[in-house]
Symmetry: C2
Subunit: 319 residues, 2 copies
Amino acid sequence: MKFWIGVDVGGTNIVCGAVDRDGRVLHTIKAPTDAAAGSAAVLDKISDMCRQVAAELGSTDELAAVGIGTPGLVDPRAGISIYSTNLNWRNVPVAAEISARLGVPVWIDNDVRNYVFGEARYGAGRSFDTVLGLTVGTGIAAAIVRRGELFYGHKAMAGEIGHGPREGIDVPCSCGLTGCLEAVASASGMVREAKRLISQGRDTVLTEWYPGERLADLAAADLSRAMDTGDPLATEVVTRAGTLIGRALEPAVHLISPDVIIVGGGAAMAGERLLGPMREALFPRLLPDFRSELQIRTAELHDDAGIIGSAMSAMARAR
Amino acid sequence: MKFWIGVDVGGTNIVCGAVDRDGRVLHTIKAPTDAAAGSAAVLDKISDMCRQVAAELGSTDELAAVGIGTPGLVDPRAGISIYSTNLNWRNVPVAAEISARLGVPVWIDNDVRNYVFGEARYGAGRSFDTVLGLTVGTGIAAAIVRRGELFYGHKAMAGEIGHGPREGIDVPCSCGLTGCLEAVASASGMVREAKRLISQGRDTVLTEWYPGERLADLAAADLSRAMDTGDPLATEVVTRAGTLIGRALEPAVHLISPDVIIVGGGAAMAGERLLGPMREALFPRLLPDFRSELQIRTAELHDDAGIIGSAMSAMARAR
């Protein structure tokens, strides 16, 4: 049986999985990225992981192609990672290098696009026409899939919904602009906002959970937990993030007319705590035709979306 | 020689033109729409105009297909005008009706999409990858063309850049929302803003040109003329419109990554008076990768864009 391998290369871990032609995950393995060892070492590791995954499947199975998702700017046609801050890569010819090592076609794309492609075709977006997929994690980014096809834009840069000055945000962003959604509404942005309010002396259960210097360990998931105890600070931070994401989605919805918005990434674990305020901010700002059929859903495939999307993106291209 | 007919159906006039396979306009005619006569009469008129255009070409020329652009919401696949406020139409099966009358394939699409399609393939966007085309006229709307293909979105509604609450705008819009770009930065919005400032007693050359009740005749083109005399009121209105359009374009650019923005429609005649403030508002709000290659251009084909786009859209589909 033919199978495809999808690889999700993150700043911390590499996940590598075999996927069948119907988008079912057959087998996955995970290993630390160790980006500090340099791009050549990481490419070797990806190749070794692909070989391992293939070896651990049945001997009659045949690897058809490999799809790889990496953070940062990618040139999918040239197969190059233009740059990735997380991996400290610049112009790494990923597709050619891995293809030379494995002897099969290899495709590379941005990790968020592969994730949204997976969700759009095999997950929460599979019965919809136009999918706007959003990942809310360390950063905030989006991708657009229309009738199963990704929308790339010039230089494959489409989907930067996390950056640009937004009304009601006055925090400087690491990108150099001020007022970016990512700075306050991403998982890390919410944690930063919580810490900022705590430093102003605000009362919260979070300082009981993480007293003194242990506050450095505060994670976005803690905000959800604290919100469930009725903590006003956590509720304020998560609700505000949802509201700001909802407002930022308004021009996106009017411009591309999605029938579903899929919210994935770590912060999507907050579920309705985040999606409720998103809906409340978004829907009253839309023209009636744009809100009548629009659904907002959380991702279904979670960690598998990147693997499935990368593998199935390779399948779609290698045809 | 084969030719295609493009028809641009406006609230005031119908323009009907023959176009060759290279997008060159061979012959056009124009007639009042007379929408009050009802949709059947308008469909008859469109058919008659198509026959007339065909008859006025050489006898060896062969009509291959007809493309029609209408204002409002269109279902291009079903060939139906879902609704058009300007024409007072609701669920008019335009394609089937005209096709039955003429005996050739007929396609219908939204007029702005056909206009932008024409500009993207044969006008100001022809050497670009991802085109965001904007018409600034009675309303403000957009369309997206990526590598020669229109992006439709769910229910073919993509491109509503003129609506949605925008920072710095507090005027109610005819759509029911408050703060829409269209309400203050469209040609009619600018005229309304100028009248509002005049009613507050502001001094302007416009009240010399249009004294008393004649102010009702004020048009957007007058604002450009007044601006050229150094009139502060006209300068304020046009500059503010450009600034607000530039700000509204920021999320659109980050979401779809165009390499060119084409500004067409009546107000585009203002040229750099409008485009200058647009650029000044837009570029500092963009990530460096999004501003390094982005161009903002005025439409090149003007009135022909709708004809060429409608005809060539029919040619592309009838293949």
